[in-house]
């Protein structure tokens, strides 16, 4: 452990066989050299870092952060849009359904109204026909009654004539009428 350090030439730090004498770290002959190159190295690294590397990396990092933020915002926006589209679709579906129901109801109502009208018309016709028929029947009945009266008068006159009586037309008619009325009531 040799400790010769200061103020000696390089040869005192390195032995004749090329191996170190003591700690090369404490060979102060080499210090100026090391310090000079170290200062140069540090200055070069500092200049390179502060002028080129660090601004570039910080720009890249900022850009990436910005891109990520933008992408997230865009995704959020698209999500919102998708939601809106779905809502619009649901609304359209509901509207269509309501419309279909309305049209169905309308059609049904229209058909019902038509049907009612037709029904009414048919009823009226039926009623008219019935009335007509009744009238015809009444007429037929009336005419039949008249015929019966006539036949009865004639028969009564003939019978009275056959019985030998003088048949007074008016009396016979009155009698037949009375008789018919009594029968009828």
């Amino acid at each position: 452990m040799a400790t010769e350090t200061t103020g000696q030439t390089a040869s005192t730090c390195v032995g004749a066989d090329g191996s170190a004498i003591g700690m090369p770290q404490l060979c102060f002959d080499w210090w100026p050299n090391q310090i000079f190159w170290l200062v140069l190295t540090l200055v070069v690294i500092y200049v390179v870092l502060s002028r080129v590397a660090l601004p570039r990396i910080s720009a890249v990092l900022a850009e990436r952060a910005g891109t990520i933020t933008n992408d997230i915002a865009a995704a959020e926006e698209l999500k919102q849009k998708a939601k809106e589209a779905e809502e619009a679709y649901q609304k359209a579906l509901a509207d269509a359904r309501a419309e279909a129901q309305r049209i169905a109801a309308e059609t049904k109502a229209g058909i019902q109204a038509e049907l009612d009208a037709e029904m009414e018309k048919a009823d009226a016709e039926i009623a008219a026909r019935t009335a007509e028929s009744e009238k015809a029947i009444a007429e037929i009945q009336a005419s039949a009654m008249d015929s019966v009266k006539d036949v009865a008068k004639d028969v009564a006159k003939d019978i009275v004539g056959a019985m030998g009586g003088e048949a007074d037309g008016r009396t016979v008619t009155a009698a037949v009428n009375a008789r018919l009325k009594g029968q009828a009531s």
Binding site: M1, A2, T9, A10, C13, V14, G15, D17, G18, S19, A20, I21, G22, M23, P24, Q25, L26, C27, D29, W30, W31, P32, N33, Q34, I35, F36, W37, L38, V39, L40, T41, L42, V44, I45, Y46, V48, L49, S50, V52, A53, L54, R56, I57, S58, A59, V60, L61, E63, R64, T67
Partner: protein
Amino acid sequence: MATETTGEESSLVFHPMDQFIVEPLFGNGPVSWYTPTNVTLWMALAVIGVILLLVLGTSRRAIVPNRTQSIAELAYGFVYKMVEDVAGKDAVGFFPYIMTLFMFIVFANFLGLVPTAFTTTSHFAVTVLLALAVFLTVTIVGFVKNGTKFLGLFWVESAPLLLRPILAVIEIISYFVRPVSHSIRLAGNLMAGHAVIKVFAGFAAIALVSPLSVLAITAMYGLEVLVAFIQAYVFTILTCVYLKDALHPSH
């Protein structure tokens, strides 16, 4: 520790400190301050490494980074967060300086792990300069930003009045010991690790012990990989802590 050659085993020669010798790259002359030496070479490699990683690695400026850019961004985020969390938001202005320290130390440490490499950060000349630079920066910043209030760092307001002068002495001593511990911690760790590996390697000359020796070297190497990063991290985080003291001197 220079040449420990035992009598009966002349093959067993330890030169664990030879790896730290500074020698000129060209020729065999004396080492003056401007001579290109192995220090120059390995520091230049560190600079090239930093440029490859942080400049060329990020040249694509991709939003989706490739591997190299990821590592560069990771390093950036790691140191930036450290500065912000430990030293405070107003210390962000010192970020390029601290990043420079961290990148240099990390690259120098890892390049030193390349077999036959020269480890620049195992030299006190390097670490003392780094630590002194931090110490001076912190002290100057402390006085410029806080004026005489910076001295409040040594005057513990929360302690009883009687104890304060004693504490002040302790605080002042600890403040001035900072650069010493700061520099010796880094250089000492690296030097010790590399020297131990070299000693184990020396034992590999004995056939009987060599498997164990190789195993020990492997284990030490793994440990040294950890140490290389941890020491860079420790140096950087301590710089941040000292910077925090300078910016916010209250206890």
